[in-house]
């Protein structure tokens, strides 16, 4: 099974997808429309690029700081959370899902994901 299918099977995950670092492709499953999934891919890709570049800048100024290269990021909202690791994103209903479980699962599954295309 793909990581997206695995994620969607987890409690609280309402949508999940993957985007290409180049920005030309995305795929998804869940409650989003195609257009909203496209937008989510653009947003997630932009933030992933940003945090990686920020990490790179921090690394240049303070080598071996433990943050670079970034594995991912999480935005925790009032009732929904967006969790992104490597080029995989997922949207979680806070009332039904465990962010710790999902971050742990994604981090574990994507540990060796290549980041050189970022």
């Amino acid at each position: 099974m793909s990581i997206v299918t695995d994620l969607l099977a987890r409690p609280g995950v309402i949508a999940a997808g993957e985007y290409a670092y180049r920005g030309d492709r995305f795929s998804y499953r869940g409650v989003l429309t195609e257009e909203h999934a496209r937008m989510a891919s653009i947003i997630c890709r932009a933030t992933t690029m940003s945090v990686n570049m920020e990490g790179g800048m921090l690394e240049a100024l303070r080598p071996r700081n433990g943050l670079h290269p970034a594995r991912g990021w999480v935005v925790y909202g009032p009732s929904h959370t967006v969790c992104v690791m490597a080029n995989v994103f997922c949207m979680i209903d806070n009332a039904k899902g465990s962010i710790n479980d999902i971050v742990r699962f994604m981090r574990g599954t994507l540990t060796h994901a290549s980041t050189h295309l970022i």
């Binding site: 653009i42 890709r45 940003s50 570049m53």
Partner: protein
């Protein structure tokens, strides 16, 4: 003579660098070591991509035309400023440098 060198003829321009799409320095001229120019090129490359990513989202959310693709950026410090257009970046004096002229020239040279 490299075309980007002519930017150094403008008042207040201290350094000019040209970098590849991956951020690596192609050539640089002015009052800075090669290592520092490499860092400046990398910074300009990263900053450009971040600004572009944010502008793309602003355009997407607002549906407003005119923001993307961004033509350039200026980071204005107290005594030094950094200006970027395309794959070019300049380090200029903040006090006296004619920023409008510098941006026009950067745009012109970046097309070559």
């Amino acid at each position: 003579m490299s075309m980007i060198k002519r930017l150094l003829a403008l008042d207040g321009v201290n350094v000019v660098c040209h970098f590849r799409d991956d951020g690596n320095l192609v050539e640089g001229y002015g009052l800075m070591s090669r290592d520092e120019m490499t860092d400046l090129a990398r910074f300009a490359h990263d900053y450009r991509r971040m600004a572009q990513g944010n502008a793309d989202q602003l355009a997407m959310f607002t549906g407003m035309r005119g923001w993307t693709p961004p033509r350039g950026w200026i980071l204005r410090g107290v005594t030094q400023s950094v200006c970027g257009v395309g794959n070019l970046v300049c380090l200029v004096d903040s006090i006296d440098a004619p920023l409008n002229d510098i941006l026009l020239e950067l745009r012109e040279v970046s097309r070559w």
